[in-house]
């Protein structure tokens, strides 16, 4: 249920005032509209999408840090 998957924001639709913030997000080749009203996403951000909503912007620096930490564990 709480499954959420990363996707890259490729287009943000401006829409009329009062309408919800939406973005076209690329899920590794498949593009789908996602609601971005719960985050402040920009084009090229990687977002974590759950039930049609981006719930967080992925931190690229932390993603690299995690891999770095794991590499260190191996040494």
């Amino acid at each position: 249920m709480c499954l959420a998957i990363p996707a890259k924001v490729v287009e943000i639709s401006k829409g009329k005032e009062g309408t919800r913030a939406k973005a076209k997000a690329d899920f590794g080749g498949v593009s789908r509209e996602s609601d971005i009203s719960l985050v402040d996403a920009k084009i090229d951000d990687y977002v974590i999408v759950h039930a049609g909503f981006a719930i967080e912007i992925m931190d690229e620096h932390e993603a690299k840090e995690t891999l770095e930490l794991w590499r260190e564990l191996l040494e």
Binding site: I55, E56, T66
Partner: protein, 357 residues
């Protein structure tokens, strides 16, 4: 990038380290997706060899939804409302029937991927549309965000629940000693690290927020083991690439604007205070329980689990699915008796699919 998070050499090395430590621990997670990772990649059996048992707790929102809530959704469908919900909820039996059965009777029950699909349905019909909204803190802000737009001919039957109060309830029930919690990555994405701190402080239990790749979970277990060795009891975060210490404040704000905590029953548990979410007074018109109060007043069931079904004990982490006498015999994903066999995140369904605990 995903495959860089699946390093077999590193996994083996950490498992060896854990084996050497010979700790004999019982950990618990509260997330169906963690259970899927633990079983699918064989982590549970490997960890068991290292003396570490990871038990699933009440981490599947579909499984902890009560028969009474399902009966409410069934009544609304039979009274001519369009009832929409997530796919996993569709086949979970209430007192006797599921929403799928009610659709087979000819009533309008829809499966949706997102609450926004439900709004699209409401825009195209004059009928009243009710969203049976299940899910933990991960999902509740999406519901709140839609309610804020005040959609027409639309209401929700809230079955949203909060994870930290359930974790505390489990500890207080004291049925089993838990040495540490693996906390759910995407619930934590919303609520952050701090929301769990009271548990570590009050009950001296270490916690680690973990992601969903096999290495995320394994490193999470390792971090818990390290805390236990050092005698620490705090909240650590393995899933920093997504979970911020403060969580998603915008989502928390949206959630708080629309919902307030309320006492809530969970399948297998007594009522847990402040563990459910109900709409605040100013959004009352979107609350199906208020809007259809008369129609729902007939729901008064004294539900008992089907004879032999151990869903309640499974959700409290006390027994494993294959210890239930119905498992794989009369209860299968095709013909589920209990809720834990229906959802793909239910422990019984996962054990059945992969043939392992």
């Amino acid at each position: 990038m995903m495959f860089r998070y699946r390093n077999e050499v590193l996994a083996k090395e950490r498992l060896e380290k854990l084996k050497d430590l010979n700790l004999n621990l019982r950990l618990m997670h509260v997330c169906g997706t963690h259970q899927d990772t633990l079983v699918k990649f064989g982590l549970n059996s490997m960890l068991k060899e290292a003396g570490i048992e990871v038990r699933p707790g009440p981490g599947c929102p579909v499984c902890v939804t009560t028969a009474k809530e399902i009966e409410e959704a069934i009544i609304l469908a039979r009274k001519g409302k369009v009832v929409a919900t997530f796919g996993d909820m569709f086949r979970v039996p209430g007192e006797r029937l599921s929403l799928a059965d009610v659709r087979a009777e000819g009533f309008d029950v829809r499966m949706v991927y997102s609450i926004t699909d439900c709004i699209s349905i409401a825009e195209k019909t004059n009928k009243e549309v009710v969203f049976f909204s299940i899910g933990f803190e991960t999902t509740a802000p999406t519901t709140a965000s839609v309610i804020l737009t005040r959609p027409k001919n639309f209401s929700i039957l809230s079955a949203h629940r909060l994870i930290p109060p359930a974790m505390e309830a489990l500890i207080k029930m004291g049925e089993m000693k838990i040495d540490g919690f693996i906390n759910p990555g995407h619930v934590s994405t919303i609520i952050g690290e701090r929301a769990y701190e009271f548990i570590s402080k009050r009950y001296k239990i270490p916690q680690v927020i973990a992601g969903f790749e096999p290495l995320d979970v394994l490193i999470g277990v390792y971090m818990l083991a390290m805390q236990i060795i050092r005698g620490e009891t705090r909240v650590e975060n393995e899933y920093k690439r997504v979970v911020k210490p403060e969580g998603n404040e915008k989502a928390q704000h949206t959630l708080g604007e629309v919902f307030e905590p309320t006492e809530c029953s969970w399948r297998g548990f007594p009522a847990i205070s402040d563990s459910g979410l109900k709409l605040r007074g100013e959004f009352e018109e979107y609350d199906a329980r208020k809007r259809y109060e008369d129609e729902l007043s007939t729901v008064d069931i004294d539900y008992k689990e089907p004879e032999g079904c151990r869903c309640g004990k499974i959700l409290r982490g006390l027994v494993y699915p294959d210890e239930c006498p119905l498992f794989g015999k009369v209860c299968t994903p095709q013909h589920p008796v209990g809720a834990c066999m229906v959802s793909r995140e239910g422990s019984c369904n996962i054990t059945f699919r992969y043939g392992e605990r």
